[in-house]
């Protein structure tokens, strides 16, 4: 099964891409064909946030289950991937915003919260980079991740306040649930599923790669 996973994944993603462009109808109220971007932008943002939750879980595991290196590594890789997907989501979101409203940035709550989470991921990685000793790195990073987790719910609460006058509606959510035709929903869910699997597959690969590098370093001396 594991061997076949990449092939299945690529097949699935190809299906999603085809579906996004041909199967799903265009959403109402969108300019031109721009709604297609929805099928990629939303899952990427979703994965970015999921990555944070995953990293927090691994951080807890690291701290409570005997400081195992693999948990620490898993948390770090999750944040790295979270940053990657988050940047992609922000860029696609900005492109979409440009098409829809003529401006790349709108202080839409989703946009803003995505940006803040990017700042947080970058800070986490900066912290890791500033500590040499692996044991120290592990516990400081895990602590910071958990501190971030504590603070995140407040960000969600505050989001409604951040909508300024230009574009009041959180567009992504408003039309997402109510107006979407079933075909769009299908493709969207399929795409989200695909991106989630992609995330975990990349995560697994990267963790194994880093573990191998670490073992080689150890064996060297």
């Amino acid at each position: 099964m594991k061997k076949n996973l990449p092939w299945l994944l690529w097949l699935w993603i190809s299906a999603v891409i085809v579906g996004a462009f041909y199967y799903a109808p265009l959403a109402k109220g969108f300019i031109g064909k721009s709604s297609r971007i929805l099928f990629f932008h939303v899952p990427m943002a979703w994965v970015s946030f999921t990555a944070f939750i995953a990293a927090a879980v691994w951080s807890v595991l690291y701290l409570t289950r005997g400081r195992q290196e693999r948990h620490d590594r898993a948390a770090a890789v999750a944040i790295q991937l979270g940053l990657l997907f988050g940047v992609l989501a922000t860029v696609t979101g900005a492109l979409w915003a440009r098409i829809m409203w003529g401006a790349y940035w709108n202080w839409d709550p989703r946009q803003t919260s995505l940006l803040i989470s990017l700042l947080f991921y970058a800070a986490y990685l900066a912290l890791r980079g500033a500590v040499d000793d692996p044991e120290k790195q592990g516990r400081l990073a895990a602590s910071y991740a958990l501190l971030g987790l504590v603070v995140t719910p407040f960000l969600f609460w505050i989001m409604p306040r951040l909508t300024y006058t230009l574009h009041p509606e959180p567009v992504v959510n408003a039309e997402g649930k109510v107006d979407m035709e079933s075909r769009m929903v299908q493709v969207l869910i399929a795409s989200t599923f695909a991106f989630t699997v992609l995330f975990f597959w990349m995560h697994n690969l990267q963790c194994r790669l880093q573990a191998l590098v670490a073992r080689r370093e150890e064996g060297r001396e």
């Binding site: 803040i116 970058a122 800070a123 912290l127 500033a130 958990l146 501190l147 603070v151 407040f154 306040r161």
Partner: protein, 214 residues
């Protein structure tokens, strides 16, 4: 713990000077740029609370991390690790940070309000927002300071790490301050701010032993 901090501090006055100097300088820069331009009332109520909290935030970032960084750099941290229970240490440092922040606010706010000709409709709410916001600044900063004290490039790292954590606090407290200025009621913001303060304190206390000891 708290007493020791202040005794050391009063003998050298480093933190007080840093904080105070930074804050006053920033304040002067801000007021010189804005004052002569004559900010209108409406613009003022939107802009000035933001500026006040930015000044406080950056002053705290300049002066507060010293609490832990100093221990590591002067190598007294080892003695502390072997003598004090982590919770006692954290509470002591937090209390110290808190008094620094309160002193800072007491210094800056009256000057700020006067220089900017800011008319505050609900002074009580302003005090409350300074108190709750100041506490949050101190609590969040104390834990982050403990983290960066054991890393390299401590100065910049502190800002990088603390700002995402303090962002919800800032948003809430700026709104509260704005309400105080224009005379709006506090609303949910105060409750949320107090909840933030409580959460950060509790989790700070829980996470501190992990950060402090191997």
């Amino acid at each position: 713990m708290f007493a020791k901090e202040w005794r050391c501090e009063l003998r050298t006055k480093v933190a007080l000077n840093t904080l105070g100097l930074f804050a006053v300088t920033t304040l002067v820069v801000a007021s010189v740029s804005l004052g002569p331009l004559g900010v209108s009332k409406a613009q003022g109520s939107a802009l000035l609370p933001v500026l006040l909290w930015l000044i406080l935030l950056f002053s705290v970032a300049a002066g507060l991390p010293r609490a832990f960084v100093q221990e590591e750099e002067s190598q007294t941290a080892t003695a502390l690790r072997l003598s004090a229970t982590p919770s006692a240490l954290f509470c002591g440092k937090l209390l110290y940070s808190l008094t620094l922040v309160v002193a800072l606010e007491a210094l800056i706010t009256p000057i700020y309000v006067t220089i900017m000709n800011l008319e505050v409709k609900s002074p009580g709410l302003l005090v409350a927002s300074l108190a709750a916001g100041g506490y949050g600044l101190a609590a969040g900063s104390t834990l982050v300071a403990a983290i960066i004290a054991q890393a390299r490039s401590k100065g910049t790292l502190f800002s990088v790490l603390s700002f995402p954590i303090l962002l919800p606090l800032l948003i809430l407290v700026i709104e509260l301050t704005r309400n105080a200025v224009v005379g709006d009621p506090a609303g949910m913001a105060l409750a949320q701010l107090l909840l933030y303060d409580a959460s950060v304190s509790i989790f700070g206390l829980m996470l501190f032993p992990v950060v402090w000891n191997p």
